[in-house]
């Protein structure tokens, strides 16, 4: 399908660290249910996957990393590890939106066309993104952004049956009508490969240093707090 035979996927944007490796058609993964242990587990996870496939470190062909938005520390660990491994092996990187990863995961699991992702950004804020899946393509309906919890109702139609709401931010929705339209799920690296393939098709892989965390909250915040 592509000349990238061995692809590593890293997901550290949420509370739980997961890593997946696809070699040919087969996918293997590791994940932890312990919160915020990204740094402690990530390299051992990768090491273990390589061993299970009988691969050497320099046999990786491509690395994808979910680069945000999400936990600042998690994103930095994920991006730094991805950058360092890519640079040392002289291979490209694919950054993927953590919200799109979650949307795709929900789409393939629940077979819904419209997915609205809401994740908790803490400090009374949320990350949101709205996606549509059609003909194996992903379309962004609403640009990913950071909003305050109070504003959530302005973005969400709680009576909708067309849209599936997912992510750990849905707990902030009030007066939910149809409980089935809301799923509190976490993203997992093993679900990144569909988006990775799309990115490969579009040749949207880049050099290691071109990837950085997408925090969705910039320096203005600190300027204000000054």
């Amino acid at each position: 399908m592509s000349n990238f035979k061995n692809i590593l996927a890293i997901e550290t944007s949420g509370l739980f660290c997961s890593v997946a490796l696809r070699s040919g058609e087969e996918i293997k993964y590791n994940f932890t249910e312990k919160e915020n242990e990204h740094g402690l587990v990530i390299l051992d996870f990768i090491d273990d996957l390589l061993k299970r496939f009988n691969l050497e470190k320099n046999e990786l062909d491509l690395i994808a990393v979910s680069n945000g938005p999400g936990s600042f520390t998690g994103l930095r660990v994920g991006c730094s590890v991805a950058q360092a491994l890519a640079f040392a092996n002289d291979i490209p990187l694919i950054p993927l939106s953590s919200l799109a990863v979650l949307a795709h995961q929900a789409h393939s699991k629940f077979d819904m066309k419209n997915i609205f992702v809401i994740t908790n950004a803490h400090m009374k804020e949320l990350y949101i993104g709205s996606y549509q899946f059609e003909n194996e393509q992903i379309k962004i309906l609403e640009k990913e952004c950071l909003i305050s919890q109070e504003d959530l109702s302005n973005y969400v139609d709680i009576n909708s049956t067309e849209t599936l709401y997912v992510g750990n931010g849905i707990t902030f929705l009030e007066n939910i009508v149809d409980k089935n339209a809301y799923k509190n799920i976490f993203s997992h690296a093993s679900n990144m490969f569909k988006l990775i393939d799309l990115a490969i098709e579009q040749k949207s892989y880049v050099a290691a240093e071109e990837v950085s965390p997408n925090y969705l909250s910039g320096e203005e915040q600190w300027q204000k707090a000054k």
């Binding site: 990204h38 740094g39 402690l40 320099n58 930095r76 991006c79 950058q83 290691a208 240093e209 300027q223």
Partner: protein
């Protein structure tokens, strides 16, 4: 043996390659974020961590490109594991561990303050044990006895602000930019001795501790009362700088002399950002007295840099025992070097 050194404990991204066999630094690259933090009058940890991620690879690439060496040629990687700011430290740790993992090279955890200190050994190779050390930086003011490599006994330290922090805060009061140390040093040259009577807190206490908070407050009162009378002229600013710097150096010098005498030592190694201060160096060399000497790293190696991490990594190579886990030790004590 080539050791790559990685420093990200605060607001400078430092990367260097040290050749242990030739005792030579092959390259060193430094990116300082000082201008960014200058806006806030001090380091904003989250912003510092962000900038380290962005600057790391470009710096690393530049170093290897300029030196004509390949990354694969290195034998080990040393990184600052602490003490310092958690977020920034984690970035360096993540890169260091991942590079070590990818290249199958050992990774060595380095104590930031030990690196400041040992760098004096690089620039003054015939330094012999035991000696006294005075570490004066943005986060620390430590007087310690060094019996042998890796064995530190802290005799005293600051009970409130670090001396570098006092320089920075004083500079901020005077409207000078961050970091304040070099600014104050520069202004002091034009400054004159005044009768401001700035205090030398706990200078006569029967221990080896320091205190700079009272000095800082005295400067604040003085600045406020001067401002009431007239606009703070360049001349007044220079005078306040001069008086402040003198008071700070008096405190450092006095306790150092006491420790040298009490512990029968004749050499003191100074390092950390404040040790780049020329007036401090001049006074130490003139006032310690006959038979005593003060030793420093090169000026460029007093403030944070990657070379001190690479050099220390080489010195500690045989003691290294780092696994794949990425974690840091923001409050690592100098006395607990062995249990990082």
């Amino acid at each position: 043996m080539l050791v790559l050194g990685i420093e990200t404990s605060c607001d400078e991204t430092g990367i260097a390659l040290y050749d242990g066999k030739q005792n030579k630094i092959i390259f060193e690259c430094l990116y300082s974020q000082a201008n960014k933090h200058s806006l806030y009058g001090g380091v904003v940890p989250e912003l510092a961590a962000r900038d380290h991620v962005n600057k790391f690879l470009p710096l690393l690439k530049k170093g290897f490109k300029d030196s004509g060496l390949s990354l694969k040629a290195i034998d080990a990687i040393a990184y600052t594991k602490g003490p310092g700011l958690r977020g920034p430290l984690m970035v360096g740790a993540s890169f260091a561990k991942s590079l070590g993992f990818a290249l199958n090279k050992p990774v060595i955890a380095v104590h930031h303050m030990e690196a400041h200190l040992l760098m004096a050994k690089y620039d003054a190779p015939n330094l012999s044990y035991p000696f006294l050390t005075l570490l004066v930086s943005g986060g620390h003011t430590i007087l310690a006895k060094v019996d042998k490599s890796g064995s530190y006994k802290i005799l005293g330290q600051t009970i409130d602000d670090a001396v570098g922090e006092a320089f920075d805060k004083t500079a901020k009061m005077l409207g000078l930019k961050y970091p304040g140390g070099p600014e104050i040093e520069k202004r002091s040259i034009q400054g004159k001795c005044m009768d401001y009577n700035f205090p030398r807190p706990i200078i006569n206490s029967d221990d080896y501790n320091f205190s700079f908070s009272g000095l800082k407050t005295a400067v604040l009162y003085k600045v406020n009362s001067l401002k009431k009378k007239e606009k703070l002229s360049e001349e007044l600013i220079s005078n306040v700088c001069y008086e402040f710097q003198n008071a700070a150096i008096d405190c450092l010098l006095h306790k150092t002399k006491k420790a040298l005498k009490d512990f029968h030592l004749n050499q003191v190694v100074l390092s950390g950002g404040v040790a780049a201060n020329k007036e401090l160096r001049r006074r130490f060399s003139e006032e310690l007295g006959i038979g005593y000497s003060s030793i420093y790293p090169d000026f460029s190696h007093c403030t944070d840099n990657g070379a001190m991490i690479a050099f220390t990594g080489f010195e500690k190579f045989n003691l290294s025992k780092e696994d794949n886990r990425i974690f840091v030790n923001p409050r690592w004590s100098l006395e607990e070097i062995a249990n990082g």
